[in-house]
């Protein structure tokens, strides 16, 4: 739940156990933003697009030229940035911030154009479909298009030959797809022994494995499956692709506990002795408010349990992101960015 303006935010760090757990393993926001490519991954519904968009806003505000890439092309990322669906060409969303959506068809055309000098034609669809077919069975090619495009954007230079983008944020497709994306170069290197592709794959591979340039941010929710998936994804990513995973964001965290002071006041409010008097003064019966307190306490405990589980299993900072209740689109993203800035700075 979002902490409304004016309410002091009691963070996780206020609990000793938690403080001990994260001592010395916080990531500086500046360190995170100094990366060139950040992959944001997590189970569907964990707020991946919102987190990607929030990090993009933070980066842009810090003066970085940011490109946000939506691998899923469902338009969620653009929506979270308050933009209509973007295309394959980067669309400027605000100062220092552009968004683009990857689609196999267009990715493929561009790939052929860039690397094989195949002229761009409008009707490459049959070729793309063949490619789709092969890519289904052969490890690598399709994923290579995705990481290849990302790597291409990373390397792009402007007229003064400085990089076009300082920071690229990638909203990965749901589930384990990020794994195959990131493992693709490695797989390709075992498959392709020589020729045109090999050199390209090698530099893409080196970009992915360079922990100073590339990192993964995991997203989870305080629920059983998303937490398990985040933990398992971290293990597999490290094992299979050698990519660095630097941060886990626990979305929808309820991070303000119910204290004895709250309980005491609540009990006094619903004390039958004063019931009529209180209801008259407040303009309604405070009875239902207890359900809110109970739910808050329950959600806080649930969040704490999953925070402990994540912190015990993930060798990285786990940062709670409060549940933003009453907003949508860009407003939510802004609120999340604000909260993230507070927890990471």
């Amino acid at each position: 739940m979002s902490s409304p303006a004016g309410t002091p935010q009691r963070s996780w760090r206020s609990s000793t156990a938690v403080r001990r757990a994260i001592a010395g393993e916080r990531i500086e926001l500046a360190t995170l933003l100094a990366r060139r490519v950040i992959f944001v991954a997590g189970k569907g519904g964990t707020g991946r697009s919102t987190m990607t968009a929030a990090l993009a806003l933070i980066g842009a505000r810090a003066g970085k030229r940011v490109l946000a890439i939506d691998v899923d092309a469902k338009g969620d990322l653009a929506a979270a940035l308050g933009s209509p669906p973007a295309g394959f060409a980067p669309r400027v969303v605000q100062h220092n911030l552009s968004v683009l959506e990857l689609r196999t068809d267009e990715s493929f055309q561009e790939y052929l154009h860039i690397y094989f000098k195949v002229p761009r034609v409008t009707r490459l669809t049959p070729l793309a479909r063949i490619f789709d077919f092969i890519a289904t069975g052969v490890p690598g090619p399709r994923d290579m298009l995705v990481v290849g495009k990302i790597a291409y954007e990373e390397r792009r230079k402007d007229a003064e030959s400085s990089p076009v983008w300082d920071l690229i944020l990638v909203d990965c497709a749901a589930g384990g797809q990020v794994e195959s994306h990131l493992a693709a170069p490695k797989a390709m290197l075992t498959l392709v022994k020589g020729g045109l592709i090999r050199a390209q794959v090698e530099w893409i591979d080196s970009l992915i494995r360079d922990s100073r340039r590339t990192t993964v941010v995991l997203c989870a929710l305080p629920e059983e499956m998303p937490v398990i998936e985040a933990i398992e994804l971290n293990d597999r990513l490290r094992k299979r692709s050698g990519v660095a995973v630097d941060l886990c964001l626990l979305n929808r965290a309820v991070d303000v506990p119910v204290t004895t002071a709250h309980r005491r006041l609540m009990a006094a409010l619903i004390d039958p002795e004063h019931a009529e008097e209180v209801a008259r003064r407040l303009g309604g019966s405070p009875g239902p408010l207890e359900a809110g307190i109970d739910l808050q306490a329950h959600l806080y405990d649930t969040t704490a349990r999953y925070m402990r589980q994540l912190r015990g299993k993930l060798p990285m900072p786990v940062v709670p992101v409060p549940f933003i209740v009453d907003r949508t689109g860009l407003t939510t993203t802004r609120a999340v960015a604000e909260a993230l800035r507070g927890s990471l700075a």
Binding site: M1, G44, V138, A173, V256, H274, E290, H298
Partner: protein
């Protein structure tokens, strides 16, 4: 939660039950119940609870076929592992958890790999072809990454189980997928895939009717593919494709029977959703598609609904005063003889108002949901579904 709150919630649960008027009974006449919806809405839990509810309503032998249950749910159901034999949930355990069932319930977890292997064996014209496909290094990749491959495996397993007639009713939990529609389209997609012209081209001609060596120079497509991937890979693909095409007739025939089963009056779809915008939109879309595909929607289950108490007008008024009236703290301290800070009062108010915002949104969504189909809508309260013990599941089964 406090005793008063629990009483309130259980009272609400009773009314929810009355509203759904026994989903178990309504679905008990069906042979196949397919639960679908967006990932993360508690589909697996609802499927398991539906299985229990059906067996409680009528003397049926029910199988709950899950795909990837959360560990605690698997434990609650007594499932040992993937692909293991179905496990019967002992009636005594259910009785202890508060549910008397007249029928029987078994639970099993589907093994995707096994389902695919069996399919290849079944549709291959001879054992040699099956062996050759199963051994092809590309085969595993294909079954893993082909869009809808999990869905197809689930449908196949369902079809076989239904065909075997060991159970009166099979409740299937569909695989978590980005798009719930993948489940409905899986059979067609597989048929298209195996029978596609592209595939013929790749295998060097109409290979269903004979083998021909692949000629890489034959088309610009293949020349390009060769350049991109290398001859070795293409040869592997080509071999795999040739073998796969031998299965085409079998797969096509099966796809037709599968659609017959999915459309039959003995089958029912249950759409499971939460009231969050994303899953809700997907549920709406799915209902529309079911209608378009002429597949019968029988019920909707809305999970994690906030209790009505959060829409109580008196509560809203009281909470608003606590948040907005700067003099209220002084008054409270005076009248209630309690030292309360402004922050404490505001916290209590805000906590309620935040939930109220969500509850209002949910109420609007519920009205929209009611218009999606002329089917019963069952509501499950928030937090009933983090199930770790069988009694949690029983509680949901009863609420259904």
């Amino acid at each position: 939660m406090s005793a008063g709150d629990v009483a309130q919630i259980s009272e609400r649960r009773r009314s929810a039950r009355a509203e759904a008027s026994g989903l178990g009974r309504r679905l008990a006449s069906l042979e196949v119940v397919i639960c679908c919806g967006s990932g993360g809405v508690g589909k697996t839990t609802v499927s398991a609870a539906l299985g229990l509810a059906i067996a409680a309503a009528e003397d049926k032998r029910v199988l709950v076929l899950t795909v990837d249950p959360a560990r605690r749910l698997a434990t609650a159901l007594g499932i040992q592992g993937i692909g293991a034999e179905p496990v019967r949930i002992p009636k005594a355990r259910l009785r202890r958890a508060g549910l008397t069932i007249t029928g029987e319930v078994e639970a099993a977890m589907l093994d995707m790999k096994q389902a695919w292997d069996r399919m290849i064996e079944r549709y291959s014209p001879d054992p040699a072809t099956a062996r050759r496909i199963l051994r092809n290094p590309l085969y595993q990749r294909i079954t893993d990454s082909f869009v809808g491959s999990h869905e197809y495996a689930a449908i196949e397993a369902l079809y076989e189980l239904h065909d075997a007639r060991e159970y009166d009713c099979i409740v299937v939990d569909t695989p978590p997928s980005r798009n719930a529609l993948d489940f409905l389209e899986a059979p067609t997609r597989l048929t298209d895939y195996v029978g596609s012209r592209l595939l013929s081209m790749l295998s060097g001609g109409p290979s269903r009717f004979g083998f021909r060596a692949m000629n890489y120079a034959a088309t610009p497509f293949l020349r390009l593919a060769d350049r991109l991937l290398g001859a070795e890979v293409l040869a592997q693909v080509s071999d795999f494709v040739q073998q796969l095409q031998l299965l085409y007739d079998g797969i096509q025939a099966r796809a037709r029977s599968v659609y017959r089963l999915l459309r039959s009056p003995q089958t029912g779809f249950v759409v499971v959703t939460t009231l969050e915008p994303g899953p809700f939109e997907e549920a709406e879309f799915f209902c529309a598609k079911l209608h378009e595909f002429k597949m019968p929607l029988r019920a909707m289950v809305v999970n994690r609904v906030l209790p009505d108490v959060f829409r109580d007008p008196g509560g809203v008024a009281a909470a608003t005063t606590l948040v907005e009236d700067p003099k209220v703290t002084a008054w409270l301290s005076n009248a209630l003889h309690i030292r309360a800070s402004a922050d404490t009062a505001r916290f209590i108010g805000t906590t309620f108002l935040n939930r109220n915002t969500l509850a209002q949104r949910e109420a609007r969504q519920l009205v929209k949901l009611g218009k999606l189909g002329e089917v019963p809508v069952a509501r499950l309260p928030l937090f009933s579904e983090e199930v770790s013990e069988l009694d949690g599941l029983v509680r949901i089964a009863k609420a259904l």
